[in-house]
């Protein structure tokens, strides 16, 4: 009895019990590594995989930013451009797993021609990289950022703002049509969400597999959905508490609960669309940087038509409530301005894996917005997919599809 009591008294605290398996795991890993994986022999030859994450072309210079995507370290020993050895410098002799290096190849490339750069490793393996059209990478000076900002404003901010001019009309139509417009918004968002997932997946395939590949998109989507749902629940809870206490200095006390709800819905729609436009900006900026973007009126007009409908989607949830002009402007900027940011990032620091993650985040945010808006679409009898709502959803999808064709230049 005495022994048992003593044991109970010396029982370790609960947190230690939770930690114990982790400690054992750490020790086991340490031993396994220290003993050099007993019983397991490495089979086969080193697997050499380098992914080109970024290409920069300057006169007489091809600059490749690479990441080791494979399991083994890689040594780049020679560079071959279009069937000829070329002189080069590199920032590190040996590229470890997931590490990066920059290889600067001196080569008198000519604008508009195609090049194939082949890096020869110490084992004789080759890393091939095709430059489809050689164009000097724009200098990241003020003029360049100005141009990207202008494009972002053309395709993002202005169309969204124009679309928001539908607000007076939205306010004048009756409740049935507002449900139709909300359904239209949901359809539009669904299109953007699907588009973001597909594009993100395509981009992820281009980035290093080792950084997660396609899983990044879904990670971004689920993460964004959960975070936004959490924030939304927290905002609701806080507001309810404040209202329950009747606090005089509660923020937004002048607005009614219905107004607040409309504002929140519009805010979330604008946020989702903003994340989508960030992706659009990324695409435009990075395409411009590699010279594959035919900048012209057709492209800008296409994006403008595509994005004007987004303005309508933002104001639809606010049809029955008053919202100040200042707040409307804020919503417009939230939805449109990320296109500018995206164009800057896309043109100056594009990375396929980061872009894939961002597309996932956009898709997750859009899914969360859809879940927010859906209850308002419901008919009074509780039906969700009434003919009117279905028509609205379909119209949203079709309008986005049709205007999307305009930008598939």
């Amino acid at each position: 009895m005495e022994v048992a009591a003593a044991t109970r008294a010396r029982r370790p605290p609960a947190w230690l019990a939770g930690l114990a398996p982790l400690i054992v795991l750490a020790v086991a890993i340490g031993l396994f590594v220290a003993l050099d994986a007993p019983g397991l022999d490495r089979i086969g030859v080193p697997e050499e995989e380098l992914t080109v994450e970024r290409t920069v072309l300057e006169p007489g210079l091809i600059e490749l930013h690479l990441r080791n995507d494979g399991a083994d370290p890689v040594r780049i020993e020679q560079a071959i451009v279009n069937d000829g050895f070329a002189a080069f410098t590199q920032t590190s002799d040996e590229v470890g797993r997931l590490a990066t290096t920059e290889v600067d190849v001196r080569y008198p490339w000519i604008e508009g021609q195609a090049y194939e750069v082949m890096l020869l490793t110490s084992t004789g393996g080759t890393i091939d990289h095709a430059i489809d059209v050689a164009v000097e990478t724009p200098d990241a000076d003020l003029g360049f950022y100005g141009l990207m900002a202008l494009i972002g404003i053309y395709v993002g901010v202005i169309p969204v703002a124009i679309g928001m001019l539908w607000l007076p009309w939205v306010r004048s139509v009756d409740a049935r049509w507002i449900r139709f417009l909300l359904a239209f918004t949901v359809g539009l968002l669904a299109f953007l969400g699907i588009d973001a997932l597909l594009e993100g997946t395509e981009l992820a395939g281009a980035g290093p597999e080792a950084l997660g590949g396609g899983a990044l998109v879904w990670l971004g989507a689920v993460g964004a959905y959960l975070v936004l749902s959490g924030v939304d629940a927290w905002l609701r809870g806080r507001r309810e508490r404040v209202e329950g206490a009747g606090g005089e200095d509660a923020p937004g006390r002048s607005s009614s609960p219905a107004e607040a709800s409309a504002w929140r819905a519009a805010f979330l729609v604008a946020l989702g669309i903003g994340l989508h436009n960030l992706g659009e900006g990324l695409a435009i900026g990075s395409a411009y940087a590699v010279g594959s973007l035919a900048l012209g009126a057709a492209l800008v007009v296409g994006f403008a038509l595509h994005n004007t409908t987004e303005g309508l989607a933002i104001v639809a949830p606010t049809a029955k409530e008053r919202i100040s002009v200042g707040r409307l402007a804020l919503l417009g900027l939230l939805a449109g301005a990320p296109a500018v940011l995206g164009a800057w990032v896309g043109a100056s620091a594009f990375h396929p894996s980061v872009a894939a993650l961002l597309f996932g985040v956009g898709a997750g945010a859009i899914a969360q917005v859809i879940v927010q808006i859906l209850p308002q679409v419901r008919e009074r009898d509780g039906r969700l997919l009434s003919p009117l709502v279905s028509a609205g959803l379909l119209t949203g999808l079709l309008v986005m599809y049709a205007t999307g064709l305009l930008v598939s230049v």
């Binding site: 992914t51 970024r54 290409t55 920069v56 072309l57 300057e58 007489g60 210079l61 490749l64 040594r75 020993e77 020679q78 560079a79 071959i80 069937d83 000829g84 050895f85 070329a86 002189a87 410098t89 590199q90 920032t91 590190s92 002799d93 920059e102 001196r106 082949m118 020869l120 110490s122 004789g124 393996g125 080759t126 091939d128 990289h129 095709a130 489809d132 990478t137 724009p138 990241a140 588009d195 597909l198 594009e199 395509e202 981009l203 281009a206 980035g207 695409a283 990075s286 395409a287 940087a289 594959s292 973007l293 043109a347 100056s348 620091a349 990375h351 396929p352 930008v407 598939s408 230049v409």
Partner: protein, 345 residues
């Protein structure tokens, strides 16, 4: 919008999103691949350095760094004038040849798992006189079956092909090839095990020279075996050379004397490419295809050889200086098959 990406996604899942770098560029020094880069200079200095390097771009000849000939166990400069006459024993000219697996450096830093005769690529240049009895004691020290197949006139059992005579020689086994040196000229020997292209491409070949009974005029004699290496196993060559090491004679030119007769024994041992060629700058040569006639067929400055083809070139350099020679299949030249003669008094 999706189409925007399409232009950017290039072959083999590689995507080059290009962009300009900001001010914080890593500092780059000109380095040979074996040295690490140490930072420390300012971004402005780095920019100047990059600009300077950019304008040197098109003047570059050769690879980065040097091949370690000592580690390879053979030196292209030595191979050039290394004729193996074997030993005469009781009227028979005899050689010992061992096949070995060996990793060699074919371009600076680039290793290749070669199969060799006597540890070198190309194998030893075997030299005999027309009509002599030849005996080759072959030991297969490699971990794969091999043979030696000699070009020449001989009986089928001495032909070194699988299924005839001794056939494939298994690892650790040996055989003796014996035949007469016929006809005179410049020939080739190589492994004939299958897969044939692989057994040749991995380095099992060499020049087999039979001098005419009356001999040839005195000359500075050079052996040049044109070859290449498929380092990534895609059945096309990444590296080209004469006597194995890419750009070896750019880094260290072939020294010859002005006015002296230079005789080049040129053999094409290249696999995967149908043709190879030899072109010398600022000069012309007499060309004796296969070296089986004593009269030149041609007086030219460029000659083409198909796979397994060979010939003898004779020329004199009238001026001192540096004269380039290379494959006039130009892409081979820039991938390693290029060199210089340095003509001195």
């Amino acid at each position: 919008m999706r189409r925007l990406w399409d232009n950017k996604v290039s072959r083999r899942k590689l995507l080059g999103g290009a962009a300009a770098t900001g001010a914080a560029i890593p500092v780059l020094h000109e380095v040979v691949p074996h040295q690490s880069v140490h930072g420390g200079t300012s971004a402005a200095e780095a920019a100047v350095e990059r600009h300077r390097q950019a304008h040197r771009g098109s003047g570059h000849l050769g690879a980065m760094g040097r091949v370690n000939n000592r580690a390879n166990g053979f030196d292209p400069q030595v191979i050039l004038r290394d004729f193996d006459e074997g030993t005469l024993r009781g009227g028979v000219r005899e050689w010992d040849i061992v096949a070995e697996d060996r990793e060699i450096e074919v371009a600076p830093g680039v290793k290749y798992a070669a199969w060799t005769y006597n540890g070198r690529v190309p194998g030893p240049t075997l030299r005999a006189r027309q009509g002599e009895r030849l005996r080759i004691n072959f030991v297969n020290g490699s971990s794969h079956p091999h043979t030696i197949h000699f070009h020449g006139i001989h009986r089928d059992v001495m032909d070194g092909v699988p299924g005839v005579g001794a056939g494939n020689i298994a690892p650790g086994r040996s055989t003796v090839y014996e035949f007469d040196a016929e006809p005179f000229g410049l020939h080739l020997y190589h492994c004939h095990s299958t897969p044939l292209a692989e057994h040749i491409a991995k380095g099992l070949y060499g020049a087999f020279l039979i001098d005419p009974e009356e001999g040839r005029p005195d000359a500075d004699e050079l052996v040049m075996v044109m070859n290449g290496f498929d380092t990534n196993f895609d059945r096309s060559n990444e590296v080209y050379a004469v006597n194995t090491v890419a750009f070896a004679y750019v880094d260290e030119p072939v020294r010859v004397r002005r006015g002296e007769l230079v005789r080049i024994y040129l053999v094409n041992a290249l696999e995967f490419d149908l043709l190879n060629s030899f072109h010398v700058h600022a000069n012309f040569f007499d060309y004796y295809p296969t070296g089986t006639r004593l009269e030149p067929r041609d007086f030219t400055d460029t000659v083409i050889q198909g796979q397994g083809e060979r010939g003898i070139l004779e020329l004199r350099f009238p001026y001192t200086g540096k004269y380039m020679f290379h494959a006039h299949v130009s892409e081979f030249a820039e991938l390693g098959w290029m060199g210089f003669f340095e003509v001195v008094d």
